[in-house]
Amino acid sequence: MAGGRGEVKELEILKKEGLSTLYPERVKISVGRATCGRAAGAEDVYTFLQDVVARRGLEWDVSTVGCLGFCQGEPLVTVQQPGWPRYVYSRVDRRLAEQIVEGVAAGKLPKRRLLGKIYSDDLLLTGEKVDLAPEGDHPLEKNPFYGPQVRIATRNCGYINPESIAEYVARGGYLALKKAVQMQPEEIIEEVVKSGLRGRGGAGFLTGKKWGFARAASGDVKYVICNADEGDPGAYMDRSILEGDPHTVLEGMAIGGYAIGAQTGIIYCRAEYPLAVATLKEAIRQAEKQGFLGDNIFGSGFSFRIRVVEGRGAFVCGEETALIASIEGRMGEPRPRPPFPAQKGLWGKPTNINNVETWANIPPIIMRGGDWFAGVGTATSSGTKVFALVGDIKNNGLVEVPMGTTLRQIVYDIGGGTGVFDLKAVQTGGPSGGCIPASLIDLPVDYDALTRAGAIMGSGGMVVMNERSCMVDVARFFIAFTQDESCGKCLPCREGTRQMLELLDKICKGEAEMSDLELLEELAYAVKDTALCGLGQTAPNPVLSTLKYFRDEYEAHIRERFCPAGVCRELFELTVDEEKCKSCGRCSEVCPQGAIVGEKDKPYRLDQDKCIRCRACLNTCRHKAIRVVPRRRYQPR
């Protein structure tokens, strides 16, 4: 091929270029500048570092990387210099940044807020290993947050500059595409089938099988779509991948396009992710320039282009038929399936839709083989899953673990536990999912185990809740979300979720009867059974799963007009437990009302008339001396 576009030689040149910036002969300081980093002040640290380095006339690189996952500790900064391990620092501010620069110059790096050191990089795709320094103390793998993780989909996040295609290539990028276009499309699909990869967008359908349908559908014009609508509250796996490693999604889509016979790919990304959109657009521009997207890719005759379409943030537009309607410029409303998008999708053409994380897993599967991927995880849920681990947990962040890892490992080993207050439940699958009680903490996290427990894998939101969470209130939160996000097309979802919210409001206010509980349950089952699309069909899950495991809590709200967790304002009072009170006075300090007073060596006292039940004391007392009790003015029914 003439021009060297999308050629093997091109890959070699790019790889050299990428290695020269990944492992420069000089000092390199990288700042995690994904959205999570920016929210914690990464931009300030980044410009500050640039200024300091420039001011001191140092010939160092100050570079950008995506999110390394430890969002709790953002801004994250890594420091690399020839012959040294890569130091990973957390919660870096100007002061620490200055100390780091001084430390490098003096040959002695600070220990403060050091998460760990990376001694070598394993390149997942090529099997190569790059040694930075001989093994030594504080390896990052020993950090409990990182130790149990296996990073396949997020293999490059936090390692490469997302705006550098060369760095992506240097870690084995676009080799899978090159390999794929030399294979028969059927062979690729076979490989994906073998991998056992299941869609990471929620339903967990077998990706290879879905590709097979789209391949088999007749038509010259076909489409592949990347679903980057990510609407679950608290979930941000897809955003992190798009911001940290956009090319893996592009490469996956190109491979998928080749396999099913599509020439066009569309990424439907929510507009609330401006950084992801900008990163994607830049990545597409670079990939086109190098000839990895465009005409005649790697001289194979295969042509493929990708464009980004921005969604305007309706949760329901993540549902595939609504998503298609939205791309076509119509109202984002689902339609009944069949016909499935594989038969009649975008503009009526066969269309294959996959989630961001699903696409990100494709290049490794093609490079390492389906069998390799199937060897990770469990028999029916292969590979890894990225979770957004949030809530009442010490280490918030983005974690990628092999399927089958237990909740205990995720919550306690990686997440560092829930602190003073005991774990009560873990919510997975967002508004479509359910609450798993602490008693099932040894549940292995895979599609089937979660479904059996009454939750779902969903897209990867994982909200940890401690004993201070009211499960009725949690169910109410999710129903409030779904009733607000329901498109309103079908009766059960539109009216049903609204009535469910009304009933839950009643329960939380202590105005409900036991018959309301039956009504709620009957309604929940009917909505689940009759709604048109996945939104309505799964909206009752948070209610049903909390009813399954925490029915006593519902009953306490109704019968005793008491919220045992102390959340529903009308239904509890707070008192100081005289036995447990250590007279430390912390509660008194945080009370905005001055409702708690006391003196040394005597239990503190709480004045009911002043207390507004803001819970500040409850969440502050390390000795659990603040007790939640029923309101005295309510008599149990």
Binding site: G488, P492, R494, E495, G496, L532
Partner: protein, 253 residues
């Protein structure tokens, strides 16, 4: 062949389960379905239970295409209970609509435990029949706006329905009687859509025969078929036709 309630029935490709059931005299309640309009699947009252040959569970029969070996139940316990919940939700929405009351009665429901929560005062159940009728006559004068419980049918931006041509198809299909038109002198008012149109009168007898834009639209649609459009009212048209036929038939050869 598909199986409904334990009996096998022949079915053609492209048919829906509802169509087969209707042909075979099996009753399935419907609300948002109309034979002349595209299926939509919004009221869900027509749900049936798929037990084999498809994804098991309940699904709307008006949008479910037949497939060989499909087995459904139209009146299982689960179906009945769900329909009852649905009609109770409808009763909370439009307690006075006769169509809802009748349906409730047929399903053995007398009242609703649900509160009436700011539902549309006119008894609209958001079935979408009017919107589809308007789309399919080609006017696109009305549509849905807003999401979830705020959803409603409206002309664009809630303004006067400028594209309405006064065909009154929406009024014709509306099951709840929500859509209303009134005539006054030479004006036709689409009350629900704030439309105001010129009435066309029969040149023979002076009876109102429709709205001005409608004739323009029909003329446009029939433009190259050579069929002439006349403004005659049905009676005068029949009279005229009879006269012409008489002229043809009675004339000696």
């Amino acid at each position: 062949m598909i199986t409904i309630n334990g009996r096998e029935f022949p079915a053609r490709d492209g048919e829906t389960v509802l169509e087969v059931a209707r042909r075979e005299g099996i009753w399935i309640p419907t609300l948002c379905h109309h034979e002349g309009l595209n299926p939509y699947g919004s009221c869900r009252i027509c749900v049936v239970e798929v037990t084999a040959g498809g994804r098991p569970g309940l699904t709307a029969s008006c949008t479910l295409p037949v497939s060989d070996g499909l087995v459904v139940e139209t009146d299982s316990e689960r179906v009945r209970r769900c329909r009852q919940v649905l009609v109770r939700l409808l009763l909370a929405m439009a307690p006075n609509a006769p169509v809802v009351r009748e349906l409730a009665e047929k399903l053995g429901v007398t009242d609703t435990p649900f509160k009436r929560l700011g539902a549309d005062k006119d008894g609209c159940i958001l079935c979408g029949l009017c919107v589809r009728a308007c789309e399919q006559v080609g006017a696109y004068a009305i549509g849905f706006a807003f999401r979830g419980v705020r959803r409603r049918v409206t002309p664009p931006f809630g303004k006067q329905a400028a594209a309405c041509m006064g065909c009154r198809a929406c009024e014709q299909v509306c099951p709840t009687g929500t859509v209303k038109f009134t005539e006054s002198g030479d004006r036709l008012f689409g009350d629900t859509w704030q439309a105001e149109l010129q009435v066309v009168r029969c040149p023979e007898c002076g009876a109102p025969v429709g709205a001005q834009p409608l004739f323009g639209h029909v003329r446009e649609q029939l433009d190259n078929t050579g069929i002439a459009v006349e403004n005659l009212c049905p009676i005068c048209r029949r009279k005229k036709l009879a006269g012409e036929m008489a002229a043809v038939c009675v004339q000696p050869k």
